[in-house]
Every structure is written in structure tokens, then in C-alpha cells.
């Protein structure tokens, strides 16, 4: 797998950026249609493209099937998307957003409850998890431990990443305890909907320090492929771990340091994470917060952990990655050093660029932190917004309607 390592001068690989987008680009650039289509079917590039699978271990056969299934869905979704009024992704005015919840404090995580579609948010500065009901927040889990992130600006934090394993099982990544003591907590939400205390988890896991290894903390974001939960963390800065919690059904059975992203990419801090429609683990590597433009988008085999593709995004501090229903990738840029440059970005192919990709800013957002697509295709984004000297903010939940056609 060495050929896929960043250290090599040239890496040839394959990336899916979304079928629907491909169709759009055929409309935009008719001359490229044939050239774009051919490699998928008969050009040598396809052979190169297959190599990650050819070199994969037998245990990785399953994800290939999953990829095919996901792709079928993506194709169907693309057809649906094309049936919508053409708002066009280059038509930025077509992408409108509205603030749907205002009374949050440093919201840092978001998830949608299966079956109900209710939005859950880690209201991190208030040290609690809330849900949004009729446009109002209601406490779900309260009294998380709190901490302060950063030296200036400073951000009060508590719970961070959220992930539902099923309707009633919620996993919460913590940010309020010291490294090594920090917890990944699993909750069974009460049927009566009454709030519970943070300590009422049914299970919790930590990655403690040893004589040789620094403890882990700040479990920023969570993603699952049904076999494991992947957790970005920020303890040992020599490694930049993505931790992995193993799943037995919906039961978390173990938690370990798994992927040393800093060793793989030579750039700091995994933060955003998701599973691509093809089953790859996609990590938004934030980079140094005082260095502009050093964020990476990195693809890993979710089973072996092998790095497949590492893209220099040109963005400052990617903190979230998500795919829309039609398979298009989006990222949020927090832009620590200059938040006016932060926002929601679409990730697009660009064969003219050195990396083969480009990003397009769809929306300026004030310190965005997390995002999730709902079943209808609307995108919800949490943002810290105006941040006070005391580390508290006027955080918000922003909705980008499905009509934006993301």
C-alpha cells in the first residue's frame, strides 16, 4: 500500500464526488462529457482506480458490495435531484439559509434521532445535550463536565460529537474532562423523554494515558459504518488519533486508539469525520489553527485503516464533513484565525488543479461546527456565532432548505 502514501510524488486514485454533480458538470462543460465518462469504463485510469480494492485484504470484500449498493442509491437520488427545479450549485443566491434556533451556547455536535427525525444538539457551552422540538430546545442530558478550549479566543465546551445507534441509543463524545479521563458515553434515552444527568450513561469508555502515551480527549465528532464507531480525538498530538469503538449490534464493546492520522498525513488534528456513500472513512484534518489553508480531506479504508487519498483542500480548519443524499460532499470550515472566511463549502472535482479538486463556498457562516442532512435533504448546521470574552456564545442552528438541492 505504500504507493498510496502521501510521501510519494504522485498518487493516482479514485474519488467519488457525486453522480448528480457529474451530470451537472456535463451540462456545464459539454466538451468534457466524453472524457469524463470514458475512464469509468475503459480507459487505463480505471485500472489504476481498481488498485485499492485489488490490494485490499479479503476481509474488505464486504465494503465493495456496500459500495455498489450505495452507488445505486446515489444514482437514484441523482435522478430525483435532477427532477427538482434547477437551482444550480453555481448559483449561490439559490442557496439560502435561515436560523431556526438561536439560544445555543457553543453548539458542537448534531445528530438526527432515527424514526422521529428530531434534531439533537450538543449545547456544549451549556454542558448539555438538547433536542429541538417545535423550534425550541429541550434538555435531554445535562450536567456534563466543562472545560475551556483555546487560549484566546476561548470557547467553553462540554459534550461534543453525537451519534445515534438507534432511536434510543445515543453516543456522546466528551470534551469537558482532562485528556485521558475524557469519556465516550453511551446513553439509553428514557421513553418518557425526561432529561437525565450526564452520569446516567449505560456505558462509558476512555483512552487513558500510559507511561509512553498521552491520554486522549476532546472527542469531537463521531461516525459509524454499522460495524464500528469512529471518533476524532485531540489528545496525543504526535499521533492525531481517530479512535474506534467496536460494535456488536448496537452495543459498544470496546474503544481503542486506531488511526494515527498525523503520522499518515503529517498534519495535525482529525476533527470532522463521516462515512462516504462508498463506505470509506473520510476525515477532515483541521491542521494548525494558526496556519491558513492547511486543512486536508483524507480518505481511509474503514476496515484496514489504510490511507487511500489525501487532498489538500486549501481551506483553513475543516471541522465537519458530510454527504448529501445524492452523494455530494460538503465540508465546514471554522477558520480559527479569520472566522470571516469560514462557512459551508462544496467539494468538487477540478482536473485543472494540482490536487484534482476545488472547493466552492456556498455560505459564509460564523464559526460553524457540525452538520447533518435530514431525510428530506435539508442541511442543518450548528454555528458558534458571536463569541464573548467569557467563552460563551450566541450559538445557532441554521437550516438550508432542501430546495437548495444540495
Amino acid at each position: 500500500m505504500k504507493r498510496w502514501h502521501l510521501g510519494l510524488a504522485m498518487i493516482l486514485t479514485v474519488l467519488t464526488l457525486g453522480t448528480s454533480r457529474a451530470q451537472e458538470e456535463q451540462k456545464e462543460e459539454p466538451k468534457n462529457e466524453q472524457a469524463a465518462a470514458q475512464p469509468a469504463e475503459e480507459q487505463p485510469a480505471q485500472e489504476e482506480a481498481k488498485q485499492p480494492q485489488e490490494e485490499a485484504k479479503p476481509s474488505e470484500a464486504a465494503p465493495e458490495k456496500k459500495e455498489e449498493a450505495a452507488s445505486e442509491e446515489a444514482a437514484d437520488a441523482a435522478e430525483d435531484a435532477n427532477a427538482k427545479p434547477a437551482l444550480g450549485h453555481d448559483a449561490l443566491p439559490g442557496v439560502t439559509a435561515k436560523v431556526v434556533v438561536e439560544d445555543l451556547n457553543n453548539p458542537c455536535g448534531i445528530a438526527i434521532q432515527p424514526e422521529t427525525g428530531i434534531l439533537f444538539i450538543s449545547d456544549s457551552g451549556n454542558h448539555r445535550v438538547v433536542k429541538v422540538v417545535d423550534g425550541k430546545v429541550e434538555p435531554v442530558i445535562t450536567d456534563f463536565p466543562g472545560d475551556v478550549y483555546g487560549k484566546g479566543p476561548m470557547v467553553n465546551i462540554g459534550p461534543l460529537g453525537l451519534l445515534f445507534l438507534d432511536k434510543n441509543t445515543l453516543v456522546v463524545g466528551g470534551g469537558g474532562l482532562p485528556d485521558g479521563e475524557e469519556l465516550l458515553r453511551v446513553y439509553e434515552l428514557p421513553a418518557d423523554g425526561k432529561p437525565i444527568k450526564a452520569e446516567a450513561m449505560v456505558a462509558s469508555f476512555s483512552l487513558a494515558a500510559t507511561d509512553e502515551i498521552k491520554g486522549e480527549g476532546n472527542f469531537y465528532a463521531l461516525a459509524s459504518n454499522g460495524e464500528a464507531i469512529f471518533v476524532t480525538s485531540n489528545g496525543d498530538d504526535t499521533k492525531g488519533w481517530v479512535a474506534r469503538a467496536t460494535l456488536d449490534g448496537n452495543k459498544v464493546t470496546g474503544y481503542e486508539r486506531w488511526l494515527a492520522t498525523k503520522e499518515a498525513t503529517e498534519v495535525d488534528a482529525p476533527v470532522g469525520v463521516t462515512i462516504s456513500p462508498q463506505g470509506y472513512l473520510v476525515v477532515g484534518q483541521m491542521g494548525e489553527i494558526n496556519i491558513p489553508g492547511d486543512s486536508l480531506i483524507t480518505f481511509y479504508d474503514a476496515h484496514s485503516g489504510n490511507m487511500l487519498l489525501n487532498l489538500k483542500s486549501g481551506l483553513h480548519d475543516i471541522c465537519a464533513v458530510a454527504y448529501s443524499k445524492r452523494g455530494q460532499m460538503y465540508v465546514l470550515d471554522y477558520a480559527w484565525a479569520d472566522p470571516s472566511q469560514g462557512g459551508l463549502f462544496q467539494v468538487l472535482k477540478d482536473t485543472e488543479s494540482e490536487t484534482g479538486m476545488r472547493t466552492k463556498k456556498l455560505l459564509s457562516l460564523d464559526k460553524p461546527t457540525a452538520m447533518v442532512f435530514d431525510a428530506d435533504g435539508a442541511l442543518y448546521v450548528t454555528a458558534i456565532g458571536e463569541l464573548g470574552e467569557d467563552g460563551n456564545s450566541k450559538g445557532m442552528l441554521i437550516k438550508i432548505d432542501r430546495d437548495a438541492g444540495l
Binding site: 510524488a9 452507488s71 487560549k151 504526535t238
Partner: protein
């Protein structure tokens, strides 16, 4: 198209990490262990330009009193620094910061300790105009160089125009870009030569990338994250140097300075942004105690609890592992008249 849809993917062939000097004249051999040399498109590297820049780099006529050249403070014989805590400019004036080595500066995301220049081209003229360094206003420097026939001819040949502020910077930056150090024992060890490092250096290397937490900041092929960190150095002074904060305006950058590369670190004593630590042993001891407490101390600075043997092993790795036999010991050229 149906097949394509079924595959459900837009396939792209992507190139990542390709060298920035493709199609350009090969001027410098990049040593093993380093990445392709980043060269800005607006200043392609040519042998003639590097030769011109080299002359300018070593030429004291770029100072107001013809006493100080770039090489006076960034001396190839002294690790491309000057062997002192701070550097003496014209009239013996001294600033508060040490002269950073320019080895592998080509790869630095920022130049100067506070990162106020984002490229070598942007950096190159700074010391010339700085009143406590070379103290020669740039317009005067341009006139002075233009009056030297050998320079005038070379600028015309290299740039197709007389010397000016922009091409003066480009020439010096081009030379600086070629000052490279790689192919160190660490690189050879990493490439598979298990005899390249001694047993103690290997132990030190493991500490470097583990318990000692060095690679939290000194990461990547050039042993720097290119970022800015508050180590507490000088923060116990009455009026500490605010470092990066003066540039970024962010309070979190107070007392933060750029992470230097550690390649050839054994040659660049004394250490830290103010040159306050004379030896590598002092540096390790400083980190081991967790720096100097202050409100902006980087979270990666904490007590390491290294044993005496571990500290010694770490120093051995730094000295033995990161010093190259191919050190760029460049001799001064003959200067044009």
C-alpha cells in the same frame, strides 16, 4: 452512461504531492528525506538567478555601511545562523530575537520567528531595510546594486530588466531556496537502513515521537508543523515578547513563535527564539520541566518526567540523527565589481 450511473461514481485521476518544479530547469538536487522543492510560479528557479542571489546573500554592500551581509547573521559555517543568542547589525545593534537558520527555509510556510513574511521573496528584503540589521532602505539598496556593473549586467541577463525591489528579492530568495539539508541518518534509517542510527539514537528517536512529545510540533519531514507555539520562553520577563500575537492579533498567539526545523540542529546553537538556551541538553531540560508557566502556554508543553538516560538519548538522536553528511557548507562566491 447507464453503466456509469450503476457504478455510481465520477472517477477522477488525481495527482497529489507532485513537485512544484516540473518543467523548470533543474538547479538543485533535493536530498533524500525532503519533499519536492516548492518554487513559486512567479519566481522560477534558474542557475543564473541562484548564482546572482548567492552573490547578493554574501555581499556586505547591501548594508548601509558595507559591514553586514545576510551571511553575517546566517552563516553557513554556523548552521546558517550566527552562534550567538542574538545578532549584531550595523553599529553593533542587537535585537531581542536570535537569527533563525535558513536551512530548509524553502519549506517554511512562514518566515521570521513571528511569521510576518509568507514567502522567501517577502522575507528577503526585510533584514536589508531593518534599521538594526543592515539599515539600508530598499530604494537605496537598488541604486547601490545597480551601480555595480557586474550586478547590473547579471540582473539584465537573468530578469531582462535592471535591478529593482522585486527582482532583488527574487534573486536572494532563489538562493536561499537552495540551502537544503536532508539525507540525514534519520532519513536513511527511515528508508530501511537499520544501521544508520546507533542504538541510543534509536531510543531517542522513539522518545522524540512518543513520550517526549517533540513531534507534537516538530512533525513531518522538515521537523516542523510550521505553526506558532508559546513555550513560555521569556514569558517570565517584565515585558515579554508577544511574538505571533503582534501579527495575528489573536490573544491565543501571545508569546508564540514559529516552530523551527530541527534538521542540522546540532549546528545552530544557541536555541529558542531569544537564543537563551546554550545547548541541546538545556533545551531538553527546559521541555522536561514543562516550560515556563504562563496563561498562554501551549497545551503540548507539560512535564515530561524523562529520566537522565532518556534525556541523553534524546539529545543523541537530535545530534546524530538529524545532522547530514551532505550539510550545505557553501563557500562565499567572488563578488561582482
Amino acid at each position: 452512461m447507464r453503466t456509469w450511473r450503476r457504478i455510481g461514481s465520477l472517477l477522477l485521476v488525481l495527482a497529489v504531492g507532485s513537485g512544484a518544479v516540473q518543467g523548470q530547469e533543474k538547479v538543485v538536487e533535493v536530498p533524500p528525506g525532503l519533499r519536492p522543492l516548492p518554487v513559486p510560479g512567479e519566481n522560477p528557479l534558474t542557475a543564473a538567478k541562484v548564482a546572482l542571489g548567492k552573490q547578493l546573500y554574501f555581499d556586505p554592500r547591501l548594508s548601509v555601511d558595507n559591514s553586514i551581509s545576510c551571511a553575517s547573521c546566517h552563516d553557513p559555517k554556523l548552521g546558517w545562523s550566527n552562534g550567538e543568542a542574538t545578532a549584531a547589525g550595523v553599529g553593533g545593534q542587537r535585537g531581542a530575537r536570535s537569527a533563525p537558520s535558513i536551512i530548509n527555509a524553502a519549506y517554511h510556510r512562514f518566515q521570521f520567528w513571528d511569521g510576518r513574511a509568507s514567502s522567501l521573496e517577502e522575507q528577503a528584503l526585510g533584514p536589508i531595510a531593518n534599521p538594526i540589521e543592515m539599515a539600508l532602505p530598499i530604494d537605496e539598496a537598488v541604486k547601490k546594486i545597480a551601480a555595480i556593473e557586474g550586478y547590473a549586467r547579471q540582473f539584465q541577463e537573468v530578469f531582462g530588466e535592471p535591478v529593482n525591489e522585486v527582482n532583488l528579492a527574487k534573486a536572494i530568495a532563489s538562493f536561499e531556496r537552495t540551502v537544503l539539508s536532508g539525507d540525514a541518518p534519520y532519513d536513511r534509517y527511515k528508508a530501511g537502513d537499520t544501521d544508520a542510527l546507533s542504538e541510543r539514537a534509536v531510543r531517542g528517536m522513539k522518545l522524540f515521537f512518543g513520550k517526549a512529545n517533540c513531534s507534537a510540533c516538530h512533525s513531518g519531514f522538515n521537523f516542523t508543523d510550521n505553526a506558532f507555539h508559546n513555550l513560555g520562553v521569556g514569558m517570565d520577563k517584565e515585558d515579554p515578547d508577544v511574538g505571533r500575537e503582534a501579527i495575528s492579533g489573536l490573544k491565543g498567539d501571545r508569546g508564540a513563535f514559529k516552530t523551527p526545523s530541527l534538521r542540522e540542529i546540532a549546528r545552530t546553537a544557541p536555541y529558542m527564539h531569544d537564543g537563551s538556551l546554550p545547548t541541546l541538553e538545556d533545551v531538553i531540560e527546559y521541555y522536561n520541566k514543562g516550560g515556563t508557566p504562563n496563561p498562554w502556554l501551549d497545551e503540548e508543553i507539560f512535564q515530561l518526567n524523562l529520566t537522565a538516560e532518556e534525556k541523553a538519548d534524546l539529545v543523541i538522536f537530535l545530534k546524530e540523527g538529524l545532522s547530514s553528511e551532505q550539510y550545505p557548507d557553501i563557500e562565499p562566491p567572488e563578488l561582482p565589481q
